[in-house]
């Protein structure tokens, strides 16, 4: 077992999941705002 690889994998896990959650949370906030400020006028669009 190469400990450097294992350490790199753990760092990748930490940084990777953080990045994914950051992107997701930003998208979540923007979508929430979009939904709030761009009300739907078309019934067929529901």
């Amino acid at each position: 077992m190469d400990m450097v690889n294992v350490m790199n994998s753990l760092i990748l896990m930490g940084k990777g999941m953080t990045a994914i959650f950051v992107v997701t949370i930003v998208i979540f906030l923007i979508v929430t705002l979009l939904i709030k400020f761009t009300p739907n006028n078309s019934k067929s669009d529901k």
């Binding site: 190469d2 790199n8 994998s9 990748l12 994914i20 992107v23 979009l34």
Partner: protein, 379 residues
């Protein structure tokens, strides 16, 4: 007359075994209806590339020199050069996805993110089993539960196991209805599986639907520039769908275009399914690690949903967290079926679909994030 038996005498037992594996893939595609659009071309291609001196692979002929083989050429041009085929397929996939159920309940985004955890757990295990870091990452990406993403990442990282990874990724996607119920039941109680969730979708405007793919591409691109190709092409397909003025292009992207790319992609992947690279202990290890990735994806999605429940007044059924993997729509159907098994009035499909499409976005973001991070770690 030696040339008549030249092919027969050159057969190895590994090649015969690969014919068997090709036959198995064809059987699964035809008789079990498991991802037939991909497994059938891959299975047939696996037979073609494992015939001795096969004309579908590059050969050096005595007195003539190098002769190109169609499948190997397709691989070099369609995948190796710029990952053209997987990326083009994303346009079709993007055009097929309706993000409506997700946009009407944006918190479902977080379950898609959580269900990518299996990728990283698998990378750690693969590293512990002695795989090279780039190979370990390529194996981990099987957990994206997204064939094109797995292919693209393993190709960019120049993994030695691209063919195996593709076969394992697509096979496990087809096996989601078997793998996920076991994983979900492991971490949920009967009472939790019975939680009902009323479906009251918020109205989503056309403006939101059009802006969504643009916003996602920009945000993902800013955080992980390597994700621009993956996310961008997926979102481009979705923009064509939602813009409302390209109906004909949208329909073509969803049907004919996606079908043609899928057809070519399947047989092209088989270029990597040669006996010398597939028949090894590592293949078995990758199969085990792929399974681990799917199980951890599912469990992490469910657990995050359970954590949400600690703070929410109106409880959510934690099973929908398990649908946060990219395998669409199988994963959503699994959750719906499990909900109905516990209570025949428990309809979870629309919530699960929302989570499932969030998993599609999260998996391509995960692929891009990994491509951005790996070079910084192997410097």
């Amino acid at each position: 007359m030696d040339f008549l038996i030249q092919g027969i005498t050159a057969i190895t037992w590994q090649q015969v075994l690969m014919w068997g594996i090709g036959g198995l893939l064809i059987y699964l595609a035809i008789c079990k209806d498991l991802e037939p659009a991909l497994l059938l071309p891959m299975g047939f291609g696996a037979i073609l590339v494992n015939i001795p001196f096969s004309g579908v692979l590059h050969q050096t002929l005595v007195g003539i020199g190098d002769v190109n083989g169609i499948i190997e050429w397709l691989f070099e041009v369609g995948i190796e050069a710029a990952e053209v085929l997987p990326l083009l397929l994303f346009i079709g996939i993007g055009a097929m996805i309706d993000f409506g159920p997700l946009l009407s309940n944006p918190k479902l985004f977080l379950f898609g993110a959580a269900a990518q955890f299996g990728i990283f757990v698998t990378v750690v295990f693969a590293s512990m089993l002695g795989f090279d870091f780039k190979d370990a990452v390529s194996i981990g990406i099987i957990g994206a539960a997204d064939g094109p993403t797995s292919l693209l990442v393993s190709q960019v990282l120049k993994s030695n196991y691209i063919g195996t990874i593709a076969v394992v990724a697509y096979s496990y996607m087809a096996l989601v209805p078997i793998i996920q119920p076991i994983a979900i039941k492991l971490v949920t109680t009967k009472k939790e599986r019975r939680i009902k969730m009323p479906y009251n979708p918020k109205s989503v405007s056309q403006t939101t639907r059009v802006l969504f793919p643009i916003v996602v591409s920009i945000i993902a691109g800013l955080v992980a520039p390597a994700s621009v190709a993956l996310v961008g092409f997926l979102m481009f397909g979705n923009l064509i769908r939602e813009c409302g003025v390209l109906k004909s292009l949208s329909e073509t992207a969803q049907k004919e275009f996606a079908n043609i790319i899928t057809l070519v992609l399947g047989i092209t992947i088989s270029a990597t399914m040669r006996a010398e690279s597939m028949i090894s202990v590592q293949t078995l290890m990758i199969m085990g690690l792929g399974l681990l990735a799917f199980v951890f994806d599912t469990i992490s999605g469910v657990l995050v949903a359970k954590i949400f429940n600690l703070f929410l007044k109106e409880k959510i059924n934690p099973m929908i967290g398990g649908a946060g993997i990219s395998a669409f729509p199988m994963s959503a159907r699994v959750v719906q079926k499990l909900g109905l098994e516990e209570d025949k009035h428990n309809f979870l499909l629309m919530h699960a679909i929302g989570t499932n499409v969030s998993g599609q976005i999260a998996s391509v973001i995960a692929g891009g994030v990994i491509l951005s991070l790996v070079p910084t770690l192997i410097r």
